[in-house]
Point group: C2
Chain length 331, copies 2
């Protein structure tokens, strides 16, 4: 069977049969190296053709390649320690461009208390940056994907739809500079995720790097649960999403759940959720309760107009495009 | 300036100005995480177009992508703990091929007591595998590239010229299956390097993944030293190199120093070298003394016929091909 028929997650499931479930379950590999900390390792590749709009500056490309890896560490409640970058550059590329990419990497790492520790430089037809994030997390603070159970409350940090909004803008050639910034100059939720993890009540967590819908699907599959998400007036839609949707006559639900937001989606045991929210308000955490974990497999988005949208059917996923419908967010 | 004018090591030196010298000095990033061990991290990318002959099986590709990273850990005296693979697959690739690559990775990792901990799967035009090796080394056993000084004795594990020999065979369409095996089914020197490191007398070490000449050049530059290598009857030439050289009427010195051998080249303080060799003989280490560290920058190969060959001028290096002459080993 060809990869395009399998879908990215289909491929990963098959790889899990060879490498073991542990290798595919979480955003990071988790290694106990003695003491009270786990080491976290993650790798995420950025290909110019697949992920980077032509409007991006080299600095933004480097920043983004670093930040996506830090986001995986954030999803585990971890603190970043260092990064490696295995990079493939076309030989006709200009050295100044390489240095600007490197500065973007170093600047992003520095903002989050990490450093670029090394890497590998190869020649190839296309610019490809495989970043490696190295972090650590105290055993008591580790957040995993596995753990959500029916009755848990579902939360998200920040807002939903920044990536999707940027995509719509780029698709229409509208506010391109701003859209490129929204897409690439993301803020890995390192500090906030650690503050949340420290409270010790999170049952599962994942970043929304492939969009909120994909994050819910992955958590749902892994934990054999469904979700009911309520899209009411309190739902934290990315502010510009509504303006852009209205400008281009699109329903925001067509794009806000399918673009990479790099927020943390997490669940908390229902009996601790009120207490968690009280603490979160007091500490001014930008988190919003958006629904609950259900039995069964459906991921239902209850809209204010009474309609229910099925979020399992769409979502940006590599390799697998034919059946994606409106969720096909690709630059 | 374009990258093709800079050469791979020229690019890496420039990157060192941004990331700091520490990031570019060694085969691995070395991180002290508390206790008496250092963590080692390395990343090495394998591109199908650049590194893999068309005769390779998918299993061999996976094995190789894993082994090259283990070789970097070996060069530090480390023991591997785990690997990650960030892989880009063309969408028209067959799933069975992906699984065979994965089995090659898992088999290689398993042979050296490590496991594949995770990774990332993306779609792209060409098969690219960015491997990440994670290892650890006791502080007393860490071997670094920095440390060689004039008067040190120079040693190499195993033989010299396996990679170059395989290249010549492939170039001539001769014994292709065997050559592909020689090129890809390499043996990272994990166990031997650790036995050597444990003796505590190594002043510097590097793997010969870009060939012996490139390894000497890198050690030389970093330590501001030169080398005198003696090619006499005791020099450990890869046995098949002489047969192949004679078959195709080529001088073995045209290829044996420029192909990736994945052996460990290391130096030992002159006053400890006799004692080291006594121990090495007793323990039957496959290591050979091949020369000494000198003052100045020349890397001279003294041949048995009295001629001296300058090893600084050639060597396989990415991006930089025009001036390579006979050292241009490329599949």
């Amino acid at each position: 069977m060809k990869l395009e028929q399998m879908g990215e997650r289909g491929i990963i499931r098959k790889l899990g049969e060879i490498f073991g479930e542990r290798a595919i379950e979480d955003d990071c590999a988790i290694l106990h190296v003695g003491g009270s900390y786990y080491m976290l390792f993650t790798t995420d590749t950025v290909n110019q053709k697949e992920h980077i709009p032509f409007t991006a500056t080299p600095w933004q490309i480097g920043y983004y390649a670093c930040a996506v890896n830090l986001s995986d560490i954030a999803a585990k409640g971890g603190e970043p320690q260092g990064l490696l970058f295995a990079t493939t550059y076309p030989k006709e590329m200009d050295m100044e461009c390489v240095l600007e990419i490197a500065r973007g990497m170093a600047d992003c790492a520095g903002m989050y208390g990490a450093a670029v520790l090394g890497g590998d430089t190869k020649e190839g037809e296309n610019l490809t940056i495989a970043g490696v994030g190295i972090g650590r997390v105290h055993r008591s603070m580790l957040m995993r994907r596995r753990g959500a159970k029916p009755g848990d409350a579902v939360y998200i940090t920040g807002t939903v739809g920044r990536g999707g909004t940027a995509f719509v803008k780029l698709q229409h050639g509208y506010e391109q500079k701003n859209a490129t910034k929204e897409l690439l100059e993301i803020t890995p939720r390192i500090t906030l995720a650690r503050q949340i993890a420290r409270l010790g009540v999170v049952t599962s967590a994942i970043d929304t790097s492939d969009g909120m819908a994909a994050a819910l699907q992955q958590l749902g599959e892994l934990n054999s649960v469904g979700f009911q998400i309520v899209w009411d007036e309190k739902f934290p839609v990315y502010p510009d999403a509504l303006r852009v949707a209205s400008k281009f006559g699109i329903d925001p639900s067509d794009f806000i759940f399918y673009g990479g937001d790099y927020e943390i989606l997490f669940t908390i045991d229902g009996s601790f959720s009120d207490e968690f929210e009280k603490k979160a308000r007091k500490k001014k955490f930008p988190v919003t309760r958006i629904g609950r974990v259900t039995q069964g497999k459906s991921i239902a988005l209850k809209q204010a107009n009474g309609r229910t949208l099925d979020l399992t059917r769409y979502g940006y996923e590599h390799f697998h495009r034919k059946s994606q419908g409106p969720g096909k967010l690709k630059i």
